[in-house]
């Protein structure tokens, strides 16, 4: 196959090549026309012309200085010649005469002073041809040397006399220098004295020349021997014949020279500077040089020569300064002398010095910027090429994408590309696709007409989309005819096949979210030459029917007996089959499953259940339906008998029959399987399975509570009475868990004062299920919850006492303790810790019953007393109690039972009995309470019998609030008391 390349890539490469070509052409053009060299050349030109300007300025300044100084010198010379004439001396001999010299010195000082004042110099001097002070000395020369110490300030007060008569200093009020002298020592062999000899020799050699021609510039020299290097310009003093007799000069101290003439203030280059030096053969002789740049000065001072190399650039030199600074120099020879001067060969140059990188900073900067521009424009050009090519080729790409994604059912509709050749091609394809579609539609229609709840799909290897039939669109709730991509189909397929049914070939449970119902689908796939073809079939009705059958046959897994549900359905069916027959519902509960489970484990428990189920299968031969309801509960239903007795016999036979079955314990012994059973009769006790079950369950319950391991028949009367025990099984738990009890308080009245001496706390349920405390106790007892109830009562009653402490006001509270229940140590500890302070006002009432464990009773009483509470015997004399036990318990208080009190006023037996009891108690220092005072007469009798306290409805009803008794009653008690004591 021929190697292909995308249209976009081909176009991109062509355009990129064009951009690259353009850039290369630009670079070549820049190189060919030497653009950067031109920039550098311009920099060089500016640099050279700046230096040239500076050089011109310097030349002009010096020319002006020379001109003005020459004039002054000429005037002085004339002046001196006149003075010498006055003294009749030749000018050459002036120094020999003291007075003439003094006069000459004075005249000269005036000129020098004015030169200092009028020109920018640091000193001015005159040196004569001999010494006035040391007339015989050859080297001593009388001289006058004035310096301006601060030329910048230009203050005459800072002038100093370095050489000359002290009279001059006094005259001008000048200080003298430390090395002040009268003479200067001038020697011909001393280079530093050129300032003297050079103009002097010139004057002799070029007699008749104009004065200015004879002037000499001396490079910086230390002419006074004081380490001050000064540049001097000196002119000879000439007599009438043109013979020199001395020189006059000015000095410019080199740092002042650099400040004045070499200021780099206007020099447009950082770190650049000017320098004046002698340049010979491309070498700077650093014996002397003048610059204001201290850095250059420091570096050059220790250097003898600085070699300059001429650069290709016009007139520029380059060198490396000590300290490795690369610099470029522009060199301008200074015109110090006129062309006819004898010193015209003296070569002083002004050098402009600029670090190389500074000079070429411009071209370097432009070159850098150009590189950036070049990179940026090229990148932009490439970006534009890529973007435009993308848009251009996108239309074609889109067209091919469109065709790729077409499904066979789609209406083909090509968008115009704006390109004629391509649009012609798409039109031809449209016509062709139309005919293909028609063929496909026919096939689909045939399938639809078959009316089967089935559909099919096709996935082709090359295609992007999946072809579906209408059924699949319907079941997946897709828009009919929508294009389904492979990815979408995979999602749909996953949904359809999410839940495979085990043991069922190709059957899937599919939950239809939209309709909220379950479908059962059979999905079968097969490979086709170009991909995969699949069929989806709705098999919901078949599967549901099958499942129902399975459900009905479901048995208890452990025993193989019917489960409760199927049991009930079967019972119902059986009743419905023979509605007028007699049936017996037997409810059986194993007596010892819990024991077995707890002691030998659930495996043994399971074996017990299995063994038991074998027993109950006994009924199957009588057509009984046997079921395991749950855990250790079984139920059997027998039906269709004419007389209950037959059934009953049948059922009773179960017990002897069961004796054959035993359970082999791990200990080795054979254990009997015991069970309690209850029977309820159809239709007498109930007509539907649920009622029958419930009734039979109750009968079984009765058996269990009365005679374990027996069979009881349902007793409607007993059921009526005790149903609450069953019904309130849940209620008692709730009461205990949520602590739904409260207390009512009934006053116990002191019969001597008529005041309330104590209250009895009476438990009340907050749940309506219980009619009274007795029911709570009964249900709790039946459910073995008495201890929990006792704990709850104690906690709540103490809590209540604590809460009502204020109204109770120190009076006693009687609390009823539940018989035979002794709180556990931890519960007692909790109460003691929390409520100890209230114990002294608490009286615990305990009840004596026949069934009472007297050992526990004693223990309880001891505990109560040990913690500072009092013990009361409740319901004394109700038939259970006897006086002996009272003695044993040593109670603090005895409450005489309501039965003994009610009607006491008209029953002599009761009265005698009570009177004896009171006597007995009082002997033992036991207080007596009369319970159940419900009328005035009983109250009166009780008072007469000297009973200590009384309680009862007549005195006050129990109330949730702690109340006093009515005043009327109080009054009555007091009156009764009064009359009885009178008797």
């Amino acid at each position: 196959m021929k190697k292909t390349m995308s249209l976009r890539r081909q176009l991109n490469i062509i355009m990129a090549l064009i951009v690259v070509f353009q850039s290369v052409a630009l670079i070549l053009a820049l190189a060919f026309f030497q653009v950067f060299d031109m920039l550098d050349a311009e920099a060089v030109r500016v640099f050279s012309s700046t230096t040239a300007n500076q050089s011109q300025t310097l030349n002009d300044a010096q020319a002006k200085l020379i001109e003005s100084f020459t004039q002054e010198t000429e005037l002085l010379n004339d002046n001196l010649l006149e003075t010498t004439l006055d003294y009749g001396l030749a000018p050459e001999d002036i120094y020999l005469n003291d007075q003439a010299y003094d006069a000459v010195a004075l005249a000269a000082s005036q000129t020098l002073f004015s030169v200092l004042e009028q020109t920018d110099v640091t000193g001015a001097f005159m040196v004569l041809n001999g010494s006035n002070a040391k007339k015989d000395s050859e080297s001593a020369h009388s001289a006058l040397y004035l310096r301006n110490l601060t030329p910048e300030l230009d203050k005459a007060s800072n002038y100093q006399l370095n050489v000359g008569p002290i009279a001059i200093a006094k005259n001008y009020h000048l200080p003298t220098s430390t090395d002040w002298n009268l003479d200067m020592v001038i020697k011909a062999d001393d280079q530093t004295n050129n300032f003297y000899f050079n103009p002097l020799n010139a004057a002799q050699n070029y007699k008749g020349s104009e004065l200015a021609r004879l002037g000499y510039w001396s490079p910086p020299q230390d002419i006074l021997g004081d380490n001050q290097r000064v540049i001097t310009y000196s002119l000879p003093l000439l007599d009438q014949a043109g013979n020199p007799y001395g020189v006059v000069g000015i000095e410019i101290e080199q740092s002042f020279f650099s400040d004045e003439y070499l200021s780099d203030e206007d020099f447009p280059y950082t770190d650049g500077f000017y320098m004046v030096a002698a340049v010979d053969d491309n070498q700077i002789n650093t014996n002397w040089f003048v610059t204001g740049n201290v850095v250059a000065k420091a570096y050059l001072t220790n250097q003898n020569f600085l070699v300059l190399s001429k650069r290709n650039d016009e007139g520029l030199y380059a060198t490396t300064m000590p300290g490795h600074f690369k610099v470029n120099l522009s060199l301008q020879t200074l015109n110090l002398y006129s062309e006819n001067s004898p010193f015209v060969d003296e070569n002083w140059s002004l050098l402009g010095v600029v670090p190389e990188n500074v000079l070429r900073a411009n071209s370097a900067s432009i070159r850098e910027k150009l590189i950036y521009v070049f990179i940026v424009t090229n990148l932009m050009a490439f970006a534009i090429v890529f973007v435009t090519m993308h848009f251009f080729t996108r239309k074609i790409t889109r067209l091919s994408d469109y065709v790729k994604n077409l499904s066979p059912y789609d209406q083909v509709d090509f968008k115009s590309t704006g390109m004629r050749e391509i649009d012609d091609l798409t039109a031809a394809i449209t016509v062709f696709s139309q005919s293909l579609t028609n063929v496909s539609k026919t096939t689909s229609k045939i399938l639809e007409l078959s009316l089967l709840p089935m559909g099919g799909y096709e996935i082709t290897e090359n295609g992007k989309n999946v072809v579906l039939t209408d059924f699949l669109y319907w079941i997946l709730h897709l828009d009919p005819g929508a294009v389904i991509s492979k990815a979408e189909w995979e999602f749909c397929y996953a949904r359809l096949t999410k839940e495979k049914i085990p043991d069922q070939e190709s059957i899937f449970k599919y939950f239809d979210n939209y309709e909220n119902r379950i479908y059962w689908l059979r999905i079968i796939e097969a490979k086709s030459p170009s991909g995969v073809v699949g069929v989806v079939m709705d098999v919901t009705s078949e599967i549901e029917e099958k499942n129902r059958l399975v459900d009905e046959l479901e048995n208890d897994a452990l025993t193989g007996l019917f489960t409760a549900t199927s049991f009930k359905r079967k019972v119902e069916n059986r009743i419905n089959e023979q509605i007028d027959g007699i049936g017996a519902m037997v409810f059986i509960d194993l007596d010892n499953l819990k024991y077995i489970n707890d002691n030998f484990g659930h495996e043994m428990g399971d074996r017990l259940i299995i063994q038991a189920s074998q027993i109950f299968r006994y009924f199957q031969k009588y057509g009984g339906i046997v079921s395991r309801i749950s855990g250790d509960e079984f139920a059997v239903y027998l039906h269709g008998y004419s007389k209950p007795q037959i059934l009953l016999n049948m059922i009773r036979n179960l017990y002897p029959y069961s004796e054959a079955f035993t359970l082999r314990m791990p200990t080795g012994e054979e254990s009997r399987i015991r069970f309690s059973a209850g029977v309820a009769w159809y239709p007498k006790d109930g007509s539907d399975p649920d009622t029958l079950l419930k009734r039979a369950d109750f009968a079984m319950y009765e058996a269990k509570s009365k005679e374990k391991g027996k069979l009881y028949e349902f007793d409607p009367e007993y059921y009526q009475k005790m149903s609450y025990l069953l019904e309130n099984r849940e209620a008692i738990n709730r009461l205990l868990d949520e602590e739904l009890i409260t207390f009512a308080y009934q006053p116990i009245v002191d019969l001597k004062t008529g005041e309330v001496a104590a209250y009895e706390a009476l438990m009340r349920s907050l749940l309506e299920n219980f009619k009274g405390p007795q029911e709570i106790l009964s249900v709790a007892s039946a459910q073995s919850k008495l201890l929990q109830l006792e704990r709850l009562v104690m906690q709540k009653v103490f809590q209540s006492i604590e809460n009502h402490q204020k109204v109770i006001a120190g009076r006693k509270i009687f609390i009823n303790s539940i018989p035979n229940q002794l709180l556990r140590e931890e519960d007692r500890r909790q109460i003691i810790d929390r409520y100890q302070p209230f114990f002294k006002q608490v009286v615990i009432e305990i009840i004596e019953r026949e069934s009472t464990d007297s050992e526990m009773l004693l223990q309880k009483a001891d505990f109560i007393r040990a913690h500072g509470m009092q013990v009361a015997i409740d319901d004394f004399g109700n038939g259970y109690s006897n006086e002996l036990r009272v003695l044993n318990l040593m109670p603090d208080i005895i409450k005489i039972d309501i039965d003994m009190i009610q009607g006491i006023h008209k029953n002599d037996d009761k009265r005698n009995l009570v009177a004896n009891l009171v006597t007995f108690c009082h002997e033992k220092e036991v207080l007596v309470v009369a319970e159940g005072i419900e009328d005035s007469a009983d109250l009166q009798t009780v008072i007469e019998l000297d009973i200590d306290y009384a309680q009862g409805y007549y005195l006050a009803m129990p109330d949730y609030k702690i109340l006093d008794i009515p005043n009327v009653v109080k009054q009555e008690i007091l009156e009764n008391r009064k009359s009885s004591s009178e008797n």
Binding site: Y101, T150, L153, I166, A169, S177, T178, W180, K297, A298
Partner: protein, 476 residues
């Protein structure tokens, strides 16, 4: 990609550490040297000595560290101070502040108030500061802790005399030099010399301000009381100081002719003067006499003391202050000052011109004595300078020097004391001459001049000026 990020991070860390590393190091860079302008008031030999020292610095330590000093002489102390003040105040046409400049304590106090000075504590460790002679160092520390002036050289004052001429007078009159130890003695000797010489003056004073301040101090009065920022006017002391000078000057026993008293020695107008040791080199080995040189011997004596007063002479000398600027410049300036005051440079720089080195090490080691031996063996001029040290070192080492502690305005007090007494003397001189012309003898002239009344006049003038300037003062 991960590699690239890692490299980038490593690079960043290197850059950061390099930056922080550089921070702790010096701000100076030999590749980018700083140039510092130094303004000083030295002239003549002192100026040359300073320039030589700087040149030597630039070519050694300066070049290595990237610091170059450019010295600019600004004339006299007064002119330097004017220029610095103008620069500090940004006066129109004034130059930029120099990076370093010679500075007296009074000026430092004033400029520091403008926030122009660098506190050099940032650049000197305690150890480095402790190297300086304590009194010299203290003269540069203000407001307890601000180190504004580095002492570079110090000087004191002594009495210079032309021994040759003085001997002639002694031989003729039987006097001797011991009278010159007290001001009263000097006054009397000058009076006698006036008679003896037929109207010539014996003695001159270079710094009148020092005379007034030290005279007061000898008599137990600190006229410039920097500790309390006030002037202290003590009538008794002032009167003694006034009488000697006003009397001496008016009567011509004392004199001031040339610009400096050393010039008056050179011209023969004076035989002796009190002046700074730093002027030692100016004292001539010869004087001009009839257009020729006449050799003289030199006699160095202690600064005279008022009778009953304490033996104290001045300690003076501008140090160098550093202008607050960039860290590079400040650090460069400190580097230069440490170099300049190191005994190795300091002895050479100071002692050629009669100044005193500032570091303890210079005195403790043999540096100073070795230099003195060298000088004593040299030319006459050098011997003269060496002779000055015999007196000066004694003063310094025994702690008999005094520098008044300045306060803001004390410079005005100093200047005014000097100017007012100077102008009093000017008229006194004219009056005395007029009286003499009438033929009165010296005693009568003195009586006519009425020193008591003149003193009151001067005293009132001083007070008035202090009032006008708003400077606090107390009278004793």
């Amino acid at each position: 990609m991960k590699k690239a990020i890692a490299l980038f991070l490593i690079g960043m860390i290197c850059i950061l550490t390099a930056c922080s590393g550089q921070d702790s190091q010096s701000a100076l860079d030999p590749e980018n040297p700083v140039t510092l302008n130094l303004w000083h008031y030295y002239t003549g030999d002192n100026k040359i000595a300073m320039e030589e020292a700087i040149e030597s610095f630039n070519q050694s330590v300066g070049m290595e560290s990237g610091v170059f000093v450019n010295a600019i002489a600004q004339g006299s102390v007064l002119e330097l101070e004017e220029a610095v003040t103008a620069a500090a105040n940004g006066t129109v046409g004034a130059a930029e502040m120099p990076d370093l400049f010679s500075c007296y304590p009074d000026k430092a106090v004033e400029l520091d108030a403008l926030g122009k000075l660098c506190d050099l504590n940032a650049y000197f460790t305690q150890e480095e500061k402790d190297k300086y002679v304590t009194e010299f160092l203290n003269g540069g520390i203000f407001d307890e802790d601000r180190f504004l002036i580095v002492p570079t050289v110090k000087s004191t004052e002594i009495l210079y005399a032309n021994q040759t001429a003085l001997n002639e007078f002694f031989v003729a009159t039987g006097q001797n030099a011991s009278s010159l130890t007290s001001w009263e003695g000097a006054y009397q000797m000058a009076q006698q010399y006036y008679q003896y010489s037929g109207g010539r003056s014996l003695i001159g004073i270079d710094s009148l301000a020092n005379y007034i301040i030290i005279g007061n101090r000898q008599l137990g009065v600190q006229i410039i009381d920097g500790a309390n920022s006030q002037a202290v006017l003590n009538r008794q002391a002032m009167k003694k100081v006034f009488d000697v000078y006003y009397g001496g000057m008016s009567m011509g026993y004392f004199n001031a002719v040339g610009k400096f008293r050393s010039d008056d020695i050179k011209s023969g107008d004076l035989l002796a003067f009190v002046g700074s040791t730093s002027g030692a080199a100016y004292f001539p080995t010869w004087i001009e006499k009839d257009n020729t040189q006449s050799d003289i011997d030199f006699l160095a004596l202690k600064y005279p003391v008022f009778e009953g007063g304490e033996d104290i002479a001045v300690s003076q000398g501008a140090g160098i202050a550093v202008t607050a600027s960039t860290p590079e410049k400040e650090e460069g300036a400190a580097l230069f000052l440490k170099w300049l005051t190191d005994p190795e440079q300091n002895i050479e720089f100071a002692m050629n011109t009669g100044y005193l080195p500032v570091e303890k090490a210079a005195y403790d080691s043999d540096g100073v004595s070795q230099k003195l031996t060298e000088m004593a063996a040299g030319e006459t001029a050098e011997q003269n300078v060496a002779a000055v040290y015999q007196i000066a070192l004694d003063q310094v080492e025994e702690g008999k020097t005094y520098a008044s502690l300045p306060f803001n305005g004390s410079y005005t007090v100093r200047t005014y004391l000097e100017d007012s007494l100077e102008s009093m003397c000017q008229s006194g001189k004219e009056n005395a001459q007029a009286l003499r012309d009438t033929g009165l003898d010296d005693d009568a002239v003195l009586k006519q001049l009425d020193l008591d009344a003149r003193f009151e006049e001067w005293y009132a003038m001083v007070k008035n000026e202090l009032d006008l300037s708003g400077i606090a003062y107390i009278e004793e």
